[in-house]
Symmetry: C2
Subunit: 445 residues, 2 copies
């Protein structure tokens, strides 16, 4: 496009400027329109010279403009990087890039073997911090994102909306929230970061009965549904997946670690310890990735991820772990977004919140969209639109108490659905989810 303009410009300008040859040839007195052949050839060569010159100039100027824009972007990043690069002068430990020696077995921490007894004693001594409140076990929802701004500017906006979504669900259901933005263990960076985090939170919050990890790209879309915790009285881990995919097909997507629960107990600490060894970044993680790709169906070749590693662990050590793992698929503890987001209008028409399953998914999980990073697996427009829809589908359920809903599933604007009233408490009784008769305990209705 730049080149066209250049040539267009040349033509326009050439025709506008006076023929300097004619002006200079005032001495010869010839009319501008009668030009000798030698002169014509000379003019042609001059025009070629101009064209080549301008071509070079165009290239140089384009590079300058690109460099200037790049400079602006770099300047902003420089400000941030400079701010964050200040080292603590009293800190002798320089956080240089080191990879764990493959000959040293990685551990999440010193081995604890008496957690159940220790925790039980602590709970007895601290009755003001019970692990059950109003008959319900105390749940801690854990999520997070890296400490730096997203590569893609829009990513932070969707992280913000996703945490608002989780705040709403947790407020309605009396669940505590931790939003982590720190790397507790630089060996276990990326998706592995949840392992040291989960361990640390269990050990620091003995009053918590269940720790629930949820990815930052997963949204609650059923604001009424509650996890049927009594179903899991004899289990220590609840994870969405399919047993046949797990044990028969050994598929690398048999389970989803984007949303799962761990009971705060010795068994969970042991599982985390057994799960962790494939995680340390560098050679260990790369080599582990090869093992996983070789053993799990459909797994592409890449470094070990926590989900594949867990699947491999549970397959390999089935007898040791599976009696305490509940592989749940009667509701969408994790709901893969692509099959759900286009059906929200149909759901609104036919069903109601509280079902948690394919009729009204508990969680819609935007696997592969990666709004925070540079390279998602799906077109950006499709992901953004779908995330907007899921967010608003959920937000409508929250706004219902206040008498509003979104104008459309892709609209940030809201409108009244109930007139304001001088007796607002009638609406509270009717519409507050916590009072709602739809509070599900896993039963289909």
């Amino acid at each position: 496009m730049g080149s066209e303009s250049t040539f267009t410009a040349q033509k326009r300008i050439s025709s506008g400027l006076p023929t300097t040859a004619a002006a200079a040839n005032g001495v010869r007195g010839r009319a501008a329109s009668v030009i000798p052949r030698g002169r014509q050839i000379q003019k042609t060569f001059n025009n070629i010279k101009i064209t080549i010159l301008c071509g070079f100039v165009t290239i140089l100027v384009l590079r300058e403009a690109e460099a200037e824009n790049q400079h602006l972007i770099e300047e902003t990043n420089r400000i941030l990087a400079e701010i964050r690069s200040d080292k603590d002068p009293t800190d002798p430990d320089d956080p240089t890039e080191e990879f764990l020696n493959p000959n040293v077995t990685y551990t999440l921490g010193p081995r604890i073997s008496t957690w159940d007894e220790d925790r039980k004693v602590w709970l007895q001594k601290n009755p003001e911090f019970p692990n059950y409140v109003n008959g319900k076990p105390r749940i801690l929802l854990v999520t997070g994102s890296p400490p730096n701004p997203c590569d893609n500017a829009i990513g932070d906006h969707y992280l913000l909306k996703a945490i608002k979504n989780k705040i709403d669900y947790c407020r309605i259901h009396g669940i505590e929230t931790v939003y982590n933005m720190a790397h507790l263990d630089t060996e276990m960076a990326g998706y592995w970061a949840k392992l040291p985090l989960l361990r640390r939170l269990m050990l620091s919050h003995p009053e918590v009965e269940w720790v629930w990890w949820m990815d930052s790209d997963a949204l609650f879309t059923d604001m009424v549904f509650e996890i049927p915790v009594s179903k899991y009285n004899d289990y220590n881990m609840v994870i969405h997946g399919y047993p046949d995919l797990l044990f028969d097909q050994k598929s690398w997507i048999a389970l989803n670690t984007g949303s799962f629960l761990f009971r705060n107990c010795q068994w969970s600490l042991d599982l985390l310890d057994a799960w962790a060894p494939m995680g340390p970044k560098g050679l260990i993680r790369e080599e582990a990735g090869k093992i996983l790709t070789a053993n799990l169906k459909g797994r592409p070749a890449f470094e070990a991820d926590d989900q594949s590693a867990l699947i491999y662990l549970l397959i390999s050590q089935k007898d040791q772990w599976m009696d305490k793992v509940f592989v749940e698929n009667s509701y969408y503890l994790h709901g893969y977004w692509a099959g759900l987001v286009d059906r929200y209008e149909e759901m609104i028409e036919k069903y109601h919140p509280g079902l948690g399953d394919e009729r009204w998914p508990f969680v819609t999980h935007f696997v592969g969209c990666k709004p925070c990073g540079s390279y998602g697996d799906y077109p950006v427009e499709r992901c953004l639109k779908s995330m907007e829809r899921a967010f608003n589908f959920a937000d409508n359920q929250v706004l219902n108490l206040y008498g509003f809903r979104h104008r459309g599933l892709v609209s940030p604007n809201i409108k009244r659905i109930r007139n304001d009233t001088v007796t607002p408490l009638v609406n509270v009784d009717h519409f507050d989810i916590r009072h709602s008769v739809h509070l599900s305990s896993g039963s289909r209705s």
Copy 2:
């Protein structure tokens, strides 16, 4: 810089290319170094022609490059705008831009006059939703931001960090949180949006005793300090400010509406109703702004803002309201950032969390930084660096329980401050803020 390169390029290229005039003049057989005067003038004019041509080309190409970058930005915004512009085909109410008729008095909603009695009856009927829990009144923290991405990309990242900061404080102190991203009343856009929101939340959450509004650019920096609620048993509003600035000087910054509490009661509904009339956007807000500028010391000329309007209201109707308003300055319910952020290291050295005042500020409020918008009142670098410091200063107090702190007040990286242990409960007893003896009730220690 572009122009220099252009001319440098011209010189470099001109000296490299063969003199086509000499080549074309092979007919005449003259040597290139002996050039007649007429020819020299002609060459000069040709060079001028080339220079002008290239100048035009430079301008055109620069505009092309700029247009291309602008196109990329616009494309991203287009995707988002397109996604969000879909209207609900069943919605006849087109949200067009309308300003309230100045002859019609704006109201937040139908007048409610029996809220205290209605709420009391409701609480009696709903003992499972008490307004006091473990002897403490139930508090709802309300904050929020507009539904669209920030003008400035970094803004969403700081909104995210700010809500994480609030989540941490609220989890530690058993406070519920609402993060609002919806315009409940388009008349009351901008800073006025909190008024309809506060009314709606009071009426929809009768179980809440205090509603606490906090700006998105305010951070908790004392994770131990608690609001001394018993101090306010006889009051219905708690706001940071200075009585002499308010009544003697009538200063437009005598109070700060970036962080204040309303008791959920009839008096608060009445105050909101009295406060609202200057808010409706357009002519009303503009005219009201002139009144405020004329009457409040130091106020620049701009449309009515909620803070100035409240100050004006409380000055004008002092006898009606002030007996129930506590103007608090014994701790930093709102702490203006510029005087605080450079002293964090000194505070760490000399003091401890739990004080809430100038020694260890409860809240650090980044008034004027506006990271979400395009035009702040302070240099960007200063604001970003200061917000990082405040965030990490607070985060250190949260990470303390887990055995970590930031490597420096501007570093996103953390490091261990305690070795991991097989007896983690000892650390819980010692470091969990909720167990801490420092839990303040407003007393200086």
